[in-house]
Amino acid sequence: MSIDKEEVKKIMVSAADSFNPEVKEDDDEIDSLINEIIMIEKAHKHTSQGGVIRKHEQISVKINKFLGYDNLNNNS
């Protein structure tokens, strides 16, 4: 069986590189955003259908703020 060793070289280099987990979200920042979302969920624990839309709006505001967008419409 003939194998292109150059190709194998590339695979090996890429496999070795994939063992370096440097690219990662900042878990602490995400966790603090999650906490804020959970607080919204808590406030809407017994909410009605109409309340779900308001809840989604509130979550959107938090995510936009996290992303540095100044208001709700800026992501759309």
Partner: protein, 691 residues
């Protein structure tokens, strides 16, 4: 939730207002109610369920009739009855009252909330206010789906959860008890928002010339998927409806007057239950295999890669991969200005430049190290993949066993069904025909649903491909970039919550399983190993084997169920003060049990009595006098905070059979003649002094 008091007024066998107070002493957390059979123990348990959820299994069919209203009360033209529960929760006291009135022999619920009112008393400020949405409030404290477990009827413990919707509800309820309510709700919201944002993103792409046609296709696919999902949901309901017809026919045959038909149907039901356990086990094994692939998939890929790349052992690759020459070696030649063949390499000469050009393809420390890392990784994959093949082999052989079991149960079921038909009883034949028709419809709906689900999956995949294609072609505007970023964050948060949940759930499952295992080890004579499946059903197998203990007795199944609930309560109790915001503090609920020992033999009973109070938060036991043994006083006596017996008042013309309850050295008569009871017997709740 701590139960404080239960009041029954003109409810079933309880005439007038009858009240029982429950023990709330943490050191004496047991309230014990002794009674003869049919004197109102089950009624008290069902009264709690009726008050909380407006239904109770034992008199569900009579709920619209007049049998809930006490007979004496009816005679005296007092047509209203109620049940009131007082409980405390997070520093507040609540009073839940459900009232019903009989009008023209029909019992109905007055008011908007099916006769339900809840008053909230703030113990600190002394203020009282009426709760709005009372039913939602009750479900947030004790979900209805779990009520049969916390309000446990020993005699009907074997409630099956064979259909997927019941399983989902049960699973959700257990997760609620474990504190996952808010994070589950957040994941649901994030998914909905992601769906909506993806639609909005597609609309933005529509405005973009080079992605317009793909966006239209994606939009069409989204609509088709939504239509198919709606149809699949309708079919799910159809399946549920047909299943309830099948169950209803089975119940009617079981309750018929034909002894042989009843017996055959009972055997069919048993075989079906065993077959379903095997099916469930088969599903669990397939899920386990799926998880195994998730955990080890990369290693299996690595295994194949390692086999294909076996030529890369050190002696073969050295000097070839990653480069023919090592850079240090080339540098050394250049430094010495002498070639390997001892020819001089003066700086700037043609030969010097030729050797120097070798550096471009030479291996470096970094590339050498990468090759070594890769070889090591492949070695690791190889080792891990061996674990995979070992476990996969075990799953394979268990799947074969399941397949054989299912085939054998199916054959037995068919034989029994033929015998039932051969009896030729007209009323039974009608029920069998109805049942078979519903089974066929259920099967056909299921097939249709499966086809729709496969189609949904295919279209989802197609949509995903088109989205990738669209994203590759798209020249992103600012709006598109922002929307994409928004969706990415939604996705990241969802995955992170799932990750937190998965870790917490793994821990909870392990602790609950250990607790149940400990109880079973203490109580049982044989060795069983306990596992919790993905729907939180306990599966017991004989220790050291994968053989599911399907043939174990009902007493053991009851013990396992009781043990699971106490383990759940115990785990929840430990989490009562949990401060992690992602998970709500554990639910604290009382454990109310009617006939806890229904099918248990004596040795199980004693052990069960020992672990129940220790692991429960508040334990209320309704125990028939026949199941009480003086010896139990030593096991549970010092845990009893309040104790009662139910006294049967017999109409004056009837002669009571003497029934006596002996507690230590005292005797309590369990029935008396009562001049007030003209025609009907009634029950009162009598207190026994606790030392």
């Amino acid at each position: 939730m701590n139960l404080l008091k239960l009041t029954l007024n003109n409810f079933r066998i309880f005439y007038g207002k009858r009240t029982i107070e429950f023990s709330n002493d943490p050191d004496k957390n047991v309230t014990l109610v002794h009674a003869e059979n049919s004197m109102g123990k089950t009624t008290m348990l069902n009264a709690i369920k009726w008050c909380l959820y407006a239904k109770a299994p034992d008199f569900e069919n009579e709920a619209k009739g007049s049998k809930i209203l006490n007979h004496i009360s009816h005679e005296k033209q007092d047509y209203s009855c109620y049940v009131e529960i007082e409980f405390s929760e997070e520093g507040k006291t609540y009073s839940i009252k459900r009232e019903a009135k009989e009008v023209k022999t029909k019992l109905g619920f007055p008011g908007e909330d099916r006769g339900l009112t809840i008053l909230e008393n703030d113990d600190k400020s002394g203020s009282v206010r009426k709760k709005s949405n009372p039913q939602t409030f009750i479900n947030s404290i004790l979900p209805e789906e779990l009520s049969d477990y916390f309000l446990f009827a020993g005699e009907t413990y074997a409630k099956t959860r064979n259909d997927s919707s019941t399983r989902e509800l049960y699973k959700k309820a257990v997760r609620d008890i474990l504190g996952f309510t808010l994070s589950d709700s957040a994941i649901k919201d994030l998914n909905e928002m992601q769906r909506k944002s993806n639609k909005e993103l597609n609309l933005l792409h529509k405005e973009n010339d080079n992605t317009t046609s793909l966006s239209v296709e994606i939009s069409d696919l989204t609509k088709e998927i939504e239509t198919l999902s709606d149809a699949s949901d309708i079919l799910k309901e159809d399946i549920k409806e047909q299943k309830s017809i099948v169950d209803d026919c089975t119940d009617k045959i079981l309750k018929s007057n034909h002894y042989e038909a009843k017996d055959l149907q009972r055997q069919i039901k048993n075989q079906e239950s065993l077959r379903n356990t095997s099916y469930k086990n088969q599903t669990n094994l397939l899920t386990e295999r799926q998880l195994l692939v998730n955990d080890y998939g990369y290693a299996v890929f690595g295994y194949s890669l390692k086999n294909k790349m076996d030529f890369i052992n050190h002696k073969d690759y050295a000097g070839k991969i990653p480069g023919k020459y090592y850079i240090g070696f080339v540098d050394e030649l250049l430094k010495k200005e002498e070639c390997i063949c001892h020819r001089a390499l003066p700086k700037g000469s043609k030969e010097y430049v030729a050797v120097e050009s070798l550096k471009a393809d030479a291996s470096t420390d970094k590339t050498e190290s990468r090759v070594r890392t890769s070889i090591n990784a492949l070695g690791l994959f190889n080792g891990r993949s061996k674990d995979f093949f070992k476990q996969d082999g075990r799953i394979d052989s268990s799947l074969d066993t399941c397949g054989e079991e299912i085939a054998s149960f199916e054959t037995e079921i068919e034989t029994l069904k033929d015998k039932l038909k051969a009896l030729s009883i007209k009323s039974i034949d009608i029920l069998i025909a109805k049942k078979e028709k519903a089974e066929k419809a259920q099967y056909s709906f299921q097939r249709e649903k499966n086809q729709k689900d496969v189609l949904i999956e295919t279209k989802e995949r197609n949509k995903k491909t088109k989205e990738t294609e669209r994203d590759n072609l798209s020249v992103d505007t600012d709006k598109i970039k922002r929307k994409k970023e928004f969706i990415r964050v939604l996705n990241t948060i969802g995955l992170r919550i799932l990750d937190h949940q998965s870790k917490a759930e793994k821990k909870a499952r392990s602790l609950i399983t250990q607790n149940v295992q400990r109880n079973l080890d203490d109580c049982l004579r044989k060795n069983f190993t306990v596992k919790l499946d993905h729907d939180y059903n306990l599966v017991t197998s004989f220790t050291g084997t994968d053989t599911i203990a399907t043939g174990t007795g009902q007493g053991q199944a009851l013990l396992t169920n009781l043990s699971f609930i106490t383990a759940l309560i115990s785990h929840s109790k430990k989490r009562a003060s949990a401060e992690n915001r992602l998970f709500l503090p554990g639910t604290i609920a009382p454990f109310v049990i009617d006939a806890p020992f229904a099918e248990m033999d004596g040795s199980y009973q004693k052990n069960t009595l020992a672990f129940l109070p220790n692991q429960s938060h508040q334990l209320i036991l309704f125990l028939s006098t026949g199941q009480w043994d003086a010896e139990y006083e030593n096991v549970i006596g010092d845990k009893i905070g309040k104790r009662y017996y139910l006294l049967n008042h017999i109409p004056k013309q009837d002669v009571p059979e003497k029934q006596v309850l002996k507690i230590k050295n005292e005797e309590f008569a369990l029935n008396i003649n009562d001049s007030k009871s003209d025609k009907f017997p009634m029950t009162t709740i009598e207190k026994i002094k606790v030392n």
